[in-house]
Amino acid sequence: MSGTIKLRKGLDITLQGEAEKVKTTAESSLFAIKPPDFHGLVPKMTVKVGDKVKIGTVIFFDKYQEEIKFVSPVAGEISDVFRGEKRRILEVRIKADGTDASEEFGASNPDSMDGKGVKKALLENGLWPFIKMRPIDVIARPTDKPKAIFVSAFDSSPLAPDYDYILHGEHDAFQAGLTAIAKLTDGKVHLTKRANVSHDAAITDAKGVQTHTISGKHPAGNVGTQIHHIDPINKGEIVWTVNALDVATIGRTLLAGKFDPTRTVALTGSEVKKTSYVKTRIGATIKPMVDGQIASDNVRYISGNVLTGEKIDADGYVGFYDHQVTVIPEGDEPAFQLSGGGWLGPGTKKFSINRSYFSWLTPNKKRVLNTNLNGEVRAFVVTGELEKVFPFDIYPMQLIKSCMYEDIDLMENLGIYEVAPEDFALCEFVCTSKVNIQDKIREGLDLIHKECM
């Protein structure tokens, strides 16, 4: 046990529309697994349109690492393989047939399995994609030997789902999942809890892991922040990360001997009439969740949180890694300057880390923020603002610039191996010059992936 890690930098964006602690269900009949959720993946299909699949049937695999397989979350029929530009597969859509037929592989207890057995079980049954690697922030390579595995026990992003609430009653599954992933590394499994919060028993009772506590604002819950402060990644090292909720999915699946696609999704955002935790499945369409629940016409649906999520349609699908759906107003109306939305106005409704708008008078108010860019894209002018929300011993602006001009040596020196795009989400939020920082970091990581890994 080590002392509490205290973060002084960071930012909590207080938004309206936190999920109420009510469990609801939404029956979907349409599901999709979206290859773009897995960055850099080239999928190779094993099924065609019209094929019957069961829960756990392999639908595609990674063209370059064939052992990584992706499975169907539902029993039914492949209804469409939706392609985009250059025939890239964007969605593999599956129509449920109402049966819950599963591929069975036999229940097993992770306690009695060895590393090889766990790895095989995860790879064969579509669980491997839950494991991601740092650097690069893509699906882990099965051939690597990670120095440690990190699990964050909470999510600190705006309107984030409460892991304690979701994991309540998943005691055994969570423990089984932790035990299983612990067999994949010679190092430790680090589980990081939030300071001054009484976590659910499922988390506090976890065994076989190294626990840490961290205090501070977002991004305290980001696993990247935790890695940096617990056991930072140096060049040549690899760590793996798994979302705590996905650890439970791994545990459930191994204990049951069949793929368990259930997932609780937090329906959040200022435009949702009645927020709740919705019990559904991986890849479900959000249509039944949001039908009749949306307070206004012009809204944006986000799979994930407002800082890192993907924009989806009203009948889109929840992303593979997302445990949250956020609905916020679109901001595509031009605003006259002297009115509330403009740059000369008082700006009482705007949120800013600076105090140039009068919204600083009400710092704790829960706000409704829309998707307006609030300005135009410019060259970097203001300095020191990114550092305020970036709790790393890394110079964010310099690293972003090195990604922009593709200087690999400089990127390595400045710490590109330690970061993922999501670590820069707050930087992107506060940037006065409205640069798409997460994109720039991703491009930098792609270059590193191609040249150095």
């Binding site: 993907e310 901001g331 031009p334 006259f336 740059w343 949120f351 998707t371 060259a379 002018v381 798409n436």
Partner: protein, 403 residues
């Protein structure tokens, strides 16, 4: 406001029209009036309310107290030179002073903005990029750091020089190496030294007088102090430093009732602006504080090793005379030309302040060292950042070795 929005949309030049090249100009006017309905695409779906326009606007607001005080102060020294008002009798004939000052100062502001924005527009049309907001602040800074009697054509020439060679050749706002406003001032200082230094230009109207009224000197405090470096018979005050200090009490210097460039004199007005910049979080307190500390440090050091009366000057006095505080709050803090790392900012500010006072005290040719010091530090800022970042890189490599 919907109708105005529609009207402006109608005026938007299309790609085919012969006005297509002028789209950046339309864009500048449109975005000046409206925040566009542009939305985030991916990544962070919500964004902080601030943008570059708001940032620049706050700096301009912060400069307004300096401008207002500068206008009245210009009138004050004019009527003092004419012998119609007492030396520190600031409130006497306030209306006439403000009127005279406004007639002198406002044209400079208009010329600076008109010429500067004109050059920006030409470059944006030529390069087809959006007009960026950087000059909104530079255009206000330039009038505040020149003497009131400067001919308008010089302001125009200096502004063109600063915008083209100081900024546009490097790629526009955010890319410049040295501060734009100080580039303009340096251009004037070296190009037209008789209009930027000496004893005749700091009180408006003095340069046209054949003989000054009895007992009145047109020199600034800095000019007078610089004489202390010379032989005793050339001293501005035969009584030495104490005579200087009784001629210019600290409080009057603090309020700003001293001759000098238009906007630089009043520490009170500058502190109001500084308060706004720091409270809103737009200005960097790290640079401001370390700049002042750097100045004080050299001030005390010169006192310790004093060999001339000038070196005896109270360091506090150094802060309130000349453009030291104006430089500390509005000039050296320019984020584009300053050091960009936190640690670098302390070093950068401290050296800037230290160098300012050093040049003042030891270099008789430049009575005011702030401009030179800041320009020099602008050039040095990337090097400071380089070493700060290298330290970070070394820390990371060391971690690898010990692990």
């Amino acid at each position: 406001m919907k109708s105005l929005e529609k009207f402006m949309r109608k005026l938007e030049p299309t790609h085919e029209s012969k006005w297509a090249k002028f789209h950046p100009v339309w864009d500048a006017l449109y975005t000046f009036a409206f925040t566009p309905g542009e939305t985030t695409k991916k990544g962070s779906h919500i964004r902080d309310g601030i943008d570059l326009k708001r940032t620049m606007f706050m700096v301009i607001v912060a400069l307004i107290p300096c401008l207002i005080f500068g206008i009245i102060n210009t009138g004050h020294w004019h009527y003092y030179a004419l012998g119609e008002t007492g030396k520190f009798d600031f409130t006497h004939m306030m209306g006439a002073k403000a009127l005279y000052g406004a007639i002198k100062v406002l044209p400079i502001v208009i010329v600076s903005y008109g010429v500067g924005l004109g050059v920006e527009f030409i470059f944006c049309i030529k390069n087809q990029h959006a007009i960026q907001e950087g000059f909104l602040v530079s255009g206000m800074l330039i009038p505040l750091i020149v003497p009131a009697d400067i001919p308008l054509w010089m302001v125009a020439v200096a502004t063109v020089f600063a915008v083209v060679l100081g900024k546009e050749v490097f790629g526009g706002t955010g890319m410049n190496i040295v501060n734009i406003a100080l580039t303009a001032r340096a251009f004037l200082f070296f190009g037209y030294p008789t209009m930027m230094s000496g004893d005749k230009i700091w009180m408006s109207g003095v340069s046209e007088m054949e003989v000054l009224p009895e007992g009145i000197s047109g020199a600034t405090q800095l000019g007078q102090l610089a004489t202390f470096n010379g032989p005793a018979e050339d001293w501005a005050y035969q009584g030495g430093l104490s005579a200087f200090e009784s001629a210019w009490p600290l409080w009057e210097s603090f309020v700003g009732i001293i001759p000098g460039s238009i906007g630089e004199t009043s520490v009170i007005a500058i502190l109001i602006g500084a308060g706004l910049l720091l409270y809103t979080g737009i200005g960097s307190w790290k640079i401001m504080v370390s700049f002042v500390l750097g100045g004080l440090a050299v001030g005390y050091l010169t006192q310790l090793g004093s060999v001339t009366p000038y070196m005896d000057l109270d360091p506090i006095n150094h802060l309130v005379i000349g453009g030291f505080m104006f430089g500390a709050v509005f000039m050296i803090t320019d984020p584009v030309t300053a050091a960009q790392t936190s640690t670098g900012k302390y070093i950068y500010g401290f050296l800037g302040g230290a160098l300012s006072i050093t040049i003042r005290v030891f270099n008789g040719a430049y009575p005011e060292g702030v401009m030179m010091a800041i320009l020099f530090m602008n050039v040095m800022a990337p090097m400071i950042d380089h070493y700060v970042i290298q330290a970070n890189v070394k820390r990371r490599l060391k971690r690898l070795k010990t692990a």
